[in-house]
């Protein structure tokens, strides 16, 4: 099967998957989502007002009508306005995704590069004191809550040492990247590095035990060539899978980082929309994440072929 046929087939497969996701969101919202009318009605409200709000929101229409409206919204990319703030949902997504990506893209890049680099290095010195110390460090780092990292490092680097601002965000992308983003990025990399390093080390070790590595060495290839050209290339497929799984996460950001550093990103928006039973925002974010997940999976599958030409499209 050639690439274009493969991509077309996968895109068609996405339609029933997306419908399933939408049905799940719809059922979950109506089952456990909370009643938005009571939140919107304010502290003094009577049953008539509640009913009026439910009519305005359309939540007292038959379920099939509500689901049909949902389908139309997904098809037209128009999710209407937030029930809580009356802001256009498209604006919510567009304005919040930039701060989120400003933090999360550097995090993913740095974390992947550093984790791969260290993984190759410690795998190469497997069993030595260095390897053991790094693994111990990773285990300790993974045992500490992200919240502890944030609280301690914000106090230490932001307040005590004054290396970074304690919190904040501006309108300028450059200011954000240079001034406000470094500490959250540093923290996220610190936290994400340990599990990735351990995982990638095991991928590299798996490859190092294969016969082709012994053969390459027997042929007299340099250790650099063996490790970087042969071992790393073969370990790249599981690494790519892992990075691919993390890709949709870029777009939802980190709730804790966003709350503690006052970053107006999507992570805070997701949690707030759930708390407020703001279904239009919840719907839009979930659908958009589902689509992103499917697209990144497709991208990763295509990249497999690029990394390893032996992989065939089926």
């Amino acid at each position: 099967m050639n690439l274009s046929t493969f991509v077309m087939r996968r895109l068609l497969h996405m339609i029933p998957t997306l419908l399933g996701v939408m049905l799940l969101i719809f059922v979950l919202f109506n089952w456990v989502g909370g009643d938005p009318a009571y939140i919107l009605a304010g502290k003094i409200s009577d049953p008539k007002q509640i009913e009026n709000i439910r009519t305005q929101l359309g939540v007292n229409q038959p379920y099939w009508v509500q689901f049909w409206i949902f389908i139309k919204q997904v098809c037209t990319f128009d999710f209407g306005r937030s029930w809580a703030t009356n802001e256009l949902v498209s604006d919510v997504l567009l304005t919040r995704v930039v701060p989120t990506l400003t933090i999360m893209v550097p995090v993913l890049l740095l974390e992947t590069i550093l984790a791969v680099l260290f993984a190759v290095l410690v795998a190469y010195v497997r069993g030595t004191l260095t390897d053991r110390m790094v693994m111990l460090g990773c285990t300790v780092a993974m045992s500490i809550s992200f919240l502890v990292y944030i609280i301690v490092c914000q106090w230490l680097f932001g307040f005590k040492l004054g290396w970074f601002p304690v919190q904040g965000w501006s309108d300028s992308f450059i200011t954000n990247l240079v001034r406000y983003a470094p500490l959250p990025i540093l923290l996220a990399v610190m936290v994400d590095l340990a599990p990735s390093l351990r995982l990638y080390r095991s991928f590299v070790l798996d490859e190092m035990n294969h016969d082709y590595v012994r053969t390459a060495r027997a042929k007299g290839l340099s250790e650099n060539t063996v490790m970087l050209k042969h071992v790393l290339r073969n370990a790249a497929i599981p690494i790519l899978t892992n990075v691919g799984i993390a890709l949709p996460g870029l777009f939802v950001g980190s709730f804790l980082l966003e709350v503690f550093f006052s970053i107006p990103g999507l992570g805070r928006e997701v949690v707030e929309s759930v708390n407020r039973s703001d279904f239009p925002v919840m719907k839009a974010i979930t659908v958009y994440l589902a689509v992103l997940t499917m697209l990144t999976n497709l991208l990763v599958d295509v990249l497999y072929r690029w990394v390893d030409p032996r992989v065939a499209f089926k």
């Binding site: 009643d35 939140i39 904040g168």
Partner: protein
């Protein structure tokens, strides 16, 4: 002045006679030039005075600035800086006192509290906005009429419509018609809203109400320009246009709100009539801002920061000048033993401690067959539970000593609050609670450590809380522990916030926690939570006692007086007798400010009053350096 080039001959030695006076002239000219330059420089320096910028934070993010559509404290607070209200509370008077703002005077109740006439000051204008197409737009009485109508427009689904619902003659009928027709007729005449002339609006109520005027000090009932509402339509929430002291110039949702001085703001100065010379905050306010034209700040930057640590550190770090509502977890650090910490005192930081006009409470459902009812047995159960709850631990552990035990359902600082009124039966007394339960037959029959009901059936009570609230979770755990100690089985049930509100409104609970913040400074705002006809709207306890309701109806038709306070006291006694609530606490907050922030005095009815604040910009710059 001219500064011509000097002729070279002036410096010729041979022409000394001529040169001497010429030199003097030249020197004089240079001196004059230098003086002019210095003067110009000094004028420039005056123009280039540093801007007075106040940076502060909100502990909860705002949602928008269509103040009629939103009801959260922080959005309303920003609206209060942008919109002028017909009335406002005097900055210094305590207890709170209504004074005119857009009106010429506070309307006098006519026909026994049935009619109010609002007379607007002429010559007050909305801030310039593109919606007005370059025309200066004066505020007139019709703008308030429009605003009142908009509040009940069914399309708005306003959470603030209670402020006028079932009050103004003909208004509810217009709203009902709009609901039927699907369109609100803003041109329709309403009998209770009568425009007497360009600046006068007469409002007629369905029944006498002496607390009616309070709602006109809220930003929800500010005069609105219909042109602005029609121009911005659904985006009105991002385009607030009022006549207030500040204008919204930048809004990064949930991240940054920037307000700047409204250059067209009306002539206003601090009224010192009610200043208390014995109050150090009043003295400082008068000294700093009396006689100056308001507002004094050029720019206000507000940063919503929901996490406690960064909000606190931003102030300690000097990034912010004012820290309203210091996070309770830092209260002990900021004011150990009730005194400002030496570190902060050394930085000349000032702290304003405010007991807020609010209270927390736990509400029983009086319709519930187990905890409800008005007979002696069920009242005894509720009273025993109220006495069995360890409120001392709530204050010391959960509230970190930043709270005061409530003695009545009315908050301090509110008209009708009686500081001498005590609720002994709500004090922690587990032995008395056990004795009361034993007396009424709530005893442990099967020896499992928990009591059964008098008829022998199991006694198990649900305490309903919303998910996500740490303090409510801690409170529910304290309830469970306290009840276990007196032999009552209490189960904690956690639901979504929206569902909790629904369950509270429809009476699907046995015991639940809540808090009430005063909307206006009168005890009626608290006591309406027990008024029978309010069951299903604000009376979540579903307390229906005709004797109480009669007193309530009597009180609402009376002006503030000793007689009315006596009625309030009597109503309090009914509440203590029937125990629809376990009274909680009145929470206090510490507001911190840098020494260069001037004119601060926290008003109980406002989150902030930026128009009275000033900044010593030179001291601020020096402080930052």
């Amino acid at each position: 002045m001219q500064n011509r080039p000097l002729p070279s001959r002036l410096f010729c030695r041979n022409d000394a006679a001529m040169a001497q006076p010429a030199l003097i002239k030249t020197f004089a000219a240079m001196l004059l030039s230098a003086t002019c330059w210095l003067a110009a420089g000094s004028a420039f320096a005056q123009d280039a005075q540093p801007l007075k910028v106040l940076r502060t934070s909100f502990r909860v993010a705002e949602t928008g600035f269509d103040c009629q559509r939103l009801s959260d404290v922080y959005s309303n607070d920003v609206c209060a800086q942008i919109f002028d209200t017909p009335l406002e509370y005097d900055y210094l008077a305590r207890p709170s006192k209504l004074v005119p703002s857009l009106l010429r005077e506070v309307p006098v109740p006519e026909q026994g509290g049935l009619v109010y006439t609002f007379r607007f000051k002429p010559g007050i204008y909305f801030a310039a906005d593109e919606a007005f197409k370059g025309v200066k737009r004066e505020i007139v009485a019709a703008d308030l009429e429009y605003s009142i109508k908009r509040l009940v427009d069914p399309a708005m689904s306003s959470p603030n419509s209670w402020q006028v619902d079932d009050r103004i003659v003909g208004l509810d009928e217009l709203a009902a018609k709009a609901k039927k027709d699907g369109k609100f007729d803003y041109q329709a005449k309403v009998a209770g809203l009568q425009l007497l002339d360009r600046y006068t609006l007469k409002i007629t109520l369905k029944k006498p109400d002496f607390n009616f005027l309070y709602v006109f000090a809220m930003p929800t009932l500010t005069p609105l320009a219909h042109e602005v509402i029609e121009y911005y339509k659904d985006d009105i929430t991002a385009h607030p246009v009022g006549s207030g002291p500040f204008k919204l110039v930048q809004w990064v949702r949930r991240s940054k709100i920037v307000l700047e001085r409204n250059p067209e703001y009306r002539e206003e100065k601090l009224d010192t009539t009610y200043a208390n010379p014995n109050d150090e905050w009043d003295r400082e306010v008068v000294k700093s801002i009396a006689g100056k034209k308001l507002p004094l700040l050029d720019r206000i930057e507000i940063y919503p920061i929901e996490a406690e640590q960064p909000r606190f550190l931003a102030f300690i770090n000097g990034e912010h000048d004012l820290l309203p509502e210091t996070p309770p977890s830092y209260a002990a650090q900021v004011m150990p033993n009730g005194k400002l910490s030496p570190t902060l005192a050394a930085q000349h930081v000032r702290a304003f401690v405010e007991l807020q006009p609010e209270l927390t409470y736990d509400s029983f459902n009086l319709d519930d067959p187990v905890v409800g009812g008005y007979d002696a047995q069920h009242v005894a159960l509720r009273r025993a539970m109220a006495m069995g709850f360890n409120r001392g631990q709530e204050i010391s552990i959960i509230r970190r000593n930043s709270a005061m035990a409530a003695q009545s359902p009315i908050a301090p600082g509110i008209v009708g609050y009686d500081p001498t009124f005590t609720a002994v039966d709500q004090d922690y007394a587990p032995a008395r609670a056990k004795a009361l339960l034993d007396t009424y037959g709530y005893v442990d029959r099967d020896g499992d450590g928990y009591r059964e009901q008098p008829d022998g059936s199991p006694l198990s009570i649900e305490y309903k809380i919303s998910s996500g609230g740490l303090s409510y979770l801690m409170l529910s755990q304290l309830w469970e522990k306290s009840m276990r100690a007196i032999g009552i089985r209490l189960n904690i049930v956690t639901v979504q916030f929206g569902d909790l509100i629904r369950d509270q409104k429809v009476g699907k609970f046995q015991l639940t926690g809540a808090a009430w913040i005063a909307d206006y400074p009168d005890a009626q705002n608290f006591l309406q939570l027990f008024y029978g006809p309010n069951t299903g709207s604000s009376n979540n306890a579903r307390f229906r006692l005709s004797a109480f309701d009669k007193l309530y109806e009597q009180a609402i038709a009376m002006p503030d007086s000793a007689e009315r306070n006596a009625l309030y006291r009597e109503m309090n006694r009914y509440i203590l007798a029937y125990v629809p609530w376990k009274l909680g606490v009145h929470r206090s907050y510490i507001h911190l400010m840098r020494p260069w922030v001037k004119g601060f005095k926290k008003h109980p009815m406002y989150h902030s009053r930026f128009k009275y604040l000033d900044i010593d910009a030179v001291a601020q710059q020096a402080g930052h350096q």
